[in-house]
């Protein structure tokens, strides 16, 4: 296998050539990899680009915009084209002592929507990469034979991965750790399992035992490039902070907020586990493929402390993190006794549990959730597809013969069988591997009406959005294939009300538009969205202490909206036009029971979208950000490119 080694000398020469001093927090180089040509090289980037793009999705969005336009014409390259970029980016805070600062943001043209993606994971990716001397990895081309990317400071090699083929993501990390003689966080591995190898359209990229960049089929992109894994040895280099004491102080203040602020405290104590009970009270816990919102089981079993204490558990935190969030669990009883699993997030309990009617077998759900991680399937979309198949079988839309077996509500074993069929595209699994939208369209008729998806081809996150209209609107209008405005954090800080009537479409649309920008900023820092649940003022202070800049709170939001506009431009170039910004029949239906019974999102949908467009300053007809909006964001160049003389 050909290897390309970056010599320390060559890399240093490039970075120091006439460059101004780098801001603190940055490694100063992007690692470029051309899989077709089997070449790896370090590309220095400078202070101006860093201030403009930060890292993560900010950096990734610009690379997509600049490098994925179709050659010699209009449009964009498709997700499976060699010119598609797979950007694995971290950010300026990664590797520094703020909590959860090892963030990975994956940016690419995803297989789900065939449009842009921004999806996050953590673990030790960002830390190991930054200490190796790189702020991001930008992959292009397609390898002829399966490879994995090995990074150990200045030694960067594309190595033969044929012996890893077929291995699940945990086995891949075990094998590489053994082979390289590295254990624990000395080696961070992000890989794809069989689902990524088979180009399943909702394949994820999984790393460090339980961390998943799951959205929009980024794992299929990795599979198409024949890249099995990225293995990064904990680097030996140093990171500087402009004001180290100020950084530690800001990090401590963020930690204080997370520990004590009512909006973050439960996350600090139990991660996302409290979501199960809390969302069920709102009618936002998806039960049996959105067919009901009334739990048939005693919810006290699903309270966070019981979920955690039901297993032997150990903390499994990301870099420098003090949250009691990520855990490893050992199953105490039943069929999978002794199995070590990643403690499911709320979305694991919903996707591998409630959405498919598994509401009693908590051990089984925990096991199934890790099986999904191992296969590298997005747990949310799996929940929608498995629940859909279960409902279709119940109603006779999918026959036993067609599927190959009987799959009833809550059947964990059957769901595990479905994982294998999808991951290897066996039998009917081949249809399901195309994702919920395409599978539903292939069947058509009544079956199609039961499926949960957006017309863009993305699947929602693991909630019943018929009781969370903000997230339904956000999912449908987003330029990332998933939530873009995200969950509100201290909305008053950006001039938004702290509370709105969640079933008032006008108020919802204004709110979603109003909080927009923060999420893109967070996803560019190299941190976790759970450890950024503090005031923007604290985040800006930490960033400034790391880099030596003077970023203000308004600038953080402006940065985010600028990034959103660039992603929107890529999205439009991919053909994701405003007519696709709507939910499927079931996704946009009216709940028949439960706390949100009768709340009809469909009746307010059009006016809600219209309001959103007006508030964000985008053109309702073409979907393009208006020239005035772009200019106000400092994107005059994009206004010219999108609007020509009209700008």
């Amino acid at each position: 296998m050909t290897t390309a080694t970056l010599s320390a000398k060559a890399a240093t020469k490039k970075t120091t050539r006439g460059a101004r001093e780098l801001p603190g927090g940055y490694a100063g180089q992007l690692l470029r990899v051309d899989l077709t040509k089997k070449k790896c090289w370090a590309e220095p980037w400078g202070p101006d680009a860093m201030r403009e793009l930060l890292g993560g999705v900010g950096l990734g969005a610009m690379i997509l915009y600049r490098e994925t336009a179709a050659r010699g014409g209009k449009g964009n390259v498709a997700w499976d084209h060699p010119d598609n970029r797979l950007i694995l980016a971290t950010g300026p805070m990664a590797g520094l002592p703020a909590w959860g600062s090892s963030g990975l943001t994956v940016v690419t043209i995803g297989a789900g929507t065939n449009g842009p993606t921004s999806t996050q994971a953590n673990g030790f990716f960002g830390t190991n990469l930054k200490y190796s001397g790189y702020d991001a990895i930008v992959l292009q081309g397609q390898a002829k034979d399966w490879v994995y990317l090995y990074i150990d400071d200045d030694v960067v090699e594309l190595r033969d991965a044929r012996d890893l083929l077929g291995q699940d993501t945990w086995a891949t990390q075990d094998t590489l750790g053994t082979k390289l003689g590295l254990s624990g966080h000395m080696l961070s591995v992000y890989s794809i399992g069989p689902a990524g190898e088979s180009l399943v359209r909702f394949a994820a990229i999984q790393g460090d035992y339980g961390h998943v960049a799951s959205k929009n089929g980024c794992g299929a992109v990795m599979g198409k490039k024949k890249l099995k894994a990225v293995a990064i040895v904990r680097g030996g280099k140093a990171l500087r902070a402009a004001d180290p004491r100020g950084l530690v102080q800001a990090a401590d203040d963020i930690g204080f907020d997370l520990r004590t602020d009512p909006s973050a405290k439960s996350l600090y104590e139990y991660g996302t586990l409290p979501g199960v009970v809390n969302l069920s009270r709102l009618g936002a816990l998806p039960i049996k493929n959105y067919t009901t919102n009334v739990s048939p089981v005693d919810m006290s079993r699903w309270e966070a402390p019981k979920l955690r204490e039901g297993f032997d558990h150990r903390g499994h935190q990301c870099s420098a993190c003090g949250m009691h969030h990520c855990h490893m669990s050992v199953i105490r009883q039943g069929e999978h006794k002794g199995a070590i699993v990643d403690e499911p997030e709320y979305e694991g309990w919903s996707g591998a549990g409630w959405a498919i009617g598994a509401m009693s077998d908590i051990d089984g759900v925990a096991w199934l959730n890790t099986e999904l991680d191992k296969a590298c399937l997005d747990v949310n979309e799996f929940g929608w597809i498995c629940g859909w198949v279960m409902e279709c079988q119940e109603k006779g839309y999918i026959g036993e013969k067609q599927l190959g077996f009987r799959l009833g509500w809550g059947d964990i074993k059957g769901a595990a069988r479905l994982i294998q069929m999808i991951s290897h595209r066996q039998g009917f699994g081949d249809v399901l591997a195309e994702g919920v939208k395409r599978a539903a369209e292939a069947l058509g008729g009544e079956a199609k009406k039961c499926a949960i998806y957006t017309e863009k081809g993305a699947a929602p996150r693991g909630h019943d959005h018929r009781a969370r209209w903000d997230e339904m609107l956000d999912t449908c209008t987003s330029g990332t294939g998933t939530l873009e405005s995200g969950v509100p954090v201290h909305p008053a800080e950006v001039g938004q009300p702290t509370r709105i009537n969640t079933f008032d479409g006008e108020a919802v649309a204004k709110f979603v538009a109003g909080i927009r920008g923060r999420r893109h900023f967070e996803d560019s820092l190299g941190m976790c969205i759970f450890t950024t649940r503090t005031r923007l003022e604290n985040l800006a202070r930490a960033l400034n202490a790391a880099t030596g800049w003077d970023v203000t709170v308004p600038e953080t939001v402006r940065f985010g909206r600028r990034t959103a506009a660039i992603l929107r431009a890529v999205s439009l170039r991919c053909g994701l036009t405003p007519d696709l910004e709507r939910p499927s029949t079931r996704y946009g239906s009216t709940p028949v029971d439960g706390p949100a019974k009768g709340q009809a999102v469909g009746a307010q949908w059009e006016s809600m979208v219209n309001t959103w467009y007006r508030e964000v300053g985008y053109d309702r007809k073409t979907g393009k950000p208006l020239p005035a909006t772009l200019k106000a964001l400092g994107l005059d160049w994009l206004a010219k490119e999108l609007w020509g003389k009209k700008a």
Partner: protein, 160 residues
């Protein structure tokens, strides 16, 4: 004497101690130069930090041919950079693997308890490292034994 007490069952493997240590010792964040190191146990499921216990025997001091290792005000064995010739004998003599050699400075380095205010204990978010008046002990022995035994028994799904 106050020593660093390790509570391995509290460690979550976040490695914040390594960041804090390297900053205090070198002025930059560089975990490769941390003198506290977090090791994995039972595959990838348990972690525990480990550093110099400031042992009474002081093997490193005894081995040093130039007298570069002394005891500082906090009671920690400390390397005098001006005197150290980088011969690495101390790294061989230390039975605990907590003496290190820095190829950049060509000097030995080790935990000096940050002169009496250990950064690792301050940085640990779960109090898995505390700085207290206690007799120094083998903090990890029982923990490591128990975790390793479980792997060797090999339950289903155990990390390989």
């Amino acid at each position: 004497m106050r020593v660093l007490k390790i509570h391995p069952e509290k460690c979550t493997g976040c490695l914040r101690c390594e960041l804090a240590c390297s900053y205090t010792q070198t002025g930059t964040f560089q975990p490769a130069k941390s003198v506290i190191r977090v090791s994995p146990f039972e595959g990838h499921t348990s972690y525990a930090p480990y550093t110099c216990t400031q042992c009474a025997e002081g093997w490193c001091m005894t081995a040093c041919p130039v007298g570069a290792i002394t005891i500082n005000a906090a009671g920690a064995k400390d390397v005098l950079d001006d005197t150290c010739v980088g011969c690495k004998l101390c790294t061989i003599a230390c039975p605990y693997g907590t003496m290190f050699y820095d190829p950049d400075t060509r000097k030995a380095f080790k935990c000096n308890l940050c002169g009496g205010a250990p950064a690792c204990a301050e940085a640990c978010p779960t109090a898995a490292i505390t700085y207290e008046e206690t007799a120094t002990l083998d903090w990890l022995g029982d923990f490591a034994h128990e975790r390793t035994a479980r792997v060797l028994v090999g339950g289903r799904g155990s990390a390989s």
